[in-house]
């Protein structure tokens, strides 16, 4: 099985990530917390450094050399992002601070302008809190109702239940492309079609998807798509919102200030064109410029399905190995998953386990993963989650499973 993977290519990729050479508590770092944030390759780090060293400047209104250069580079990333998700036009790419910000933008701007009393918004029980709370707030404000799609015992959405929730009252469906807590890939194309049939629009939270599967917003026909730069090997504080043009055009500004205006008079302000009307204030310029390198990296690892195949093998390999540990139960064993394994161990709390593993250099996440309703559904207060990325290896999984087994045995003695 290991032989099938492109080990030499993975080794080359690992060399691009300086942090992977770090020692943690005297052990080699095993980084399995990629669903929280991915590590950054050299070329991303270099661009951040280069920007601050050689052309740091505020963008868009300066006429000097540095401002011109920074602006051009910043806008190159917008075009690269358009290509990355196959959007129609560059102006449909709005830069935000992250997925959370993107969802808040839509909930506040679109929601405030369009939702009315008794309208309905549909989310699912597996959503990250950032795709729950913004909708709760706007629904409360507007007297709209929030409906929730349940999941089955594998962590898959129950599509029949979704169909029953859909009605003429449904105005928007906002769903994770991939669940952060379990890694389950949702049948979003089917969801979008069904929602469109009743005249509702669909927003996808792509935070967990962008680094792992191909995204084609035109093929999906989604109305909004959000993801974060830091989860695609890029800098923190860089977020993307894609929207269909007519929707974005019709939406009022979200935050106000500089950049987003066309003309300010003291009696009336007119707003700038897309995408700038949603981009008030100085953005994370260095971060967005470096994001281009990250997107190019992801494009490379997605080509020839290198990432998909390698990560799928890591998932199979890790699942099989973990299932051999007595008392361990994987939460969310859907057949449609990216390389995320969430599990519980009988008699050992995930917080304790996380700390024990940390002493041996294994970084993973413990807790409710900002998905408390989903944890409640499975009647647990949290899990330990190992989430893999392109640079993870079978040897790392071997080490992790060995340490885990060893710690569990040591504790149970």
């Amino acid at each position: 099985m290991k032989a099938e993977s492109n080990i030499s290519k993975i080794d080359e990729i690992r060399k691009l990530f300086p942090i992977l050479r770090e020692k943690i508590n005297g052990h080699k770092l095993i980084y399995f917390d990629n669903a929280a944030t991915t590590q950054k390759p050299d070329m991303v780090i270099r661009v951040l450094d280069d920007y601050y060293r050689t052309y740091n400047s505020n963008i868009h209104r300066g006429i000097h050399y540095l401002a011109e250069k920074a602006t051009a580079k910043f806008e190159e990333t917008r075009e690269a992002t358009r290509e990355f998700i196959n959007a129609q036009e560059t102006e449909q790419i709005i830069f935000t601070t992250g997925t959370t910000d993107s969802i808040n933008l839509v909930a506040s701007s679109w929601g405030r302008a369009n939702l009315k009393q008794d309208d309905e918004v549909i989310i699912s029980v597996m959503e990250h809190h950032s795709n729950i709370v913004p909708w709760q707030l706007i629904c409360e404000e507007k007297g709209a109702k929030l409906q929730v799609i349940p999941v089955d015992e594998h962590g898959d959405l129950i599509i029949e239940a979704f169909e029953q929730l859909l009605s003429k009252k449904t105005k928007l469906v906002s769903i994770a492309h991939i669940s952060n807590a379990l890694g389950v890939i949702n049948p979003v194309k089917e969801i979008i079609e069904k929602a469109h049939d009743v005249g509702a629009i669909v927003m996808l939270d792509g935070a967990q998807a962008a680094a792992h599967i191909n995204i084609d917003v035109q093929n999906l026909d989604c109305d909004f798509y959000a993801f974060s730069g830091h989860k695609v090997y890029g800098p923190t504080g860089t977020g993307i919102l894609y929207g269909k043009r007519d929707l974005l055009e019709s939406m009022p500004p979200y935050r106000s200030g500089g950049e987003m205006i066309s003309e300010v008079r003291l009696d009336k302000t007119t707003f700038n064109e897309l995408p700038y009307k949603f981009e008030a204030g100085t953005p994370n310029i260095a971060g967005f410029i470096a994001l281009k390198q990250a997107l190019e990296f992801v494009d490379k690892i997605k080509s020839g399905e290198l990432a998909t195949k390698h990560e799928e093998m890591l998932l199979q390999y890790g699942t099989r190995a973990l299932n051999k540990i007595p008392g361990l139960k994987i939460v969310g064993d859907s057949k449609n998953k990216i390389a995320v394994i969430s599990f519980v161990i009988k008699g050992l709390h995930h917080y304790d386990l996380g700390l024990m593993l940390d002493t041996r250099g294994v970084a993973l996440r413990t807790g409710h993963h900002c998905a408390q309703p989903l944890m409640k559904h499975f009647d647990i207060d949290g899990t330990t989650r190992a989430s893999f990325a392109i640079y993870n290896t079978f040897e790392e999984i071997d080490y992790f499973v060995k340490q885990l087994s060893n710690l569990v045995n040591k504790w149970k003695k």
Binding site: N25, H349, Y351, D352, L355, D358
Partner: protein
């Protein structure tokens, strides 16, 4: 009402020094220390379910922590529980030092043993915040009992 029998005669600082001595055998080895704290947690007598309610929960901890206290003969006694072993272990240390002491001693004490045994590095910043929240709550109870005495 939970029956609390142990009366703590040793002064707080003597108990702190005992803990420092006890932990010194690990010589900074993080894993052994964590296992030991978890073992202490296992030995902690569990709190009956009637006190595991929102009324007794300590806010500011990632894990769930319930703290119950009462005063007998002008001394304050604590009982506590948590859903994780490490947290129970940390609580057991605090109880060992503070339970059975006088309100003024609890309020005024400086719990230097925590820093001395390097707890911050052992359990990390987030859990250290939880530990701080526990100590704060124990001192608040002591203040409340003190005001009752008056």
């Amino acid at each position: 009402m939970e029956e609390i029998v142990s009366v703590n005669a040793k002064p707080i600082d003597v108990l702190q020094d005992e803990i420092i001595e006890e932990f010194s055998i690990f010589d900074g080895d993080r894993e052994s220390t964590i296992f030991y704290i978890m073992e202490l947690g296992q030995q902690l007598e569990s709190l009956s379910d009637q006190y595991k309610t929102d009324e007794y929960i300590i806010k500011g901890c990632q894990s769930k922590v319930w703290l119950f206290s009462k005063m007998q003969n002008n001394r304050i006694f604590y009982m506590a529980d948590s859903n994780t072993e490490i947290t129970k272990g940390l609580i057991s240390l605090l109880i060992r030092v503070l339970s059975g002491q006088k309100a003024d001693d609890i309020i005024q004490t400086n719990l230097y043993f925590i820093e001395k045994i390097g707890m911050g590095q052992i359990i990390g910043a987030q859990r250290s915040n939880g530990l701080t929240a526990m100590i704060k709550q124990m001192k608040l109870y002591a203040m409340a009992f003190k005001s009752k005495i008056r």
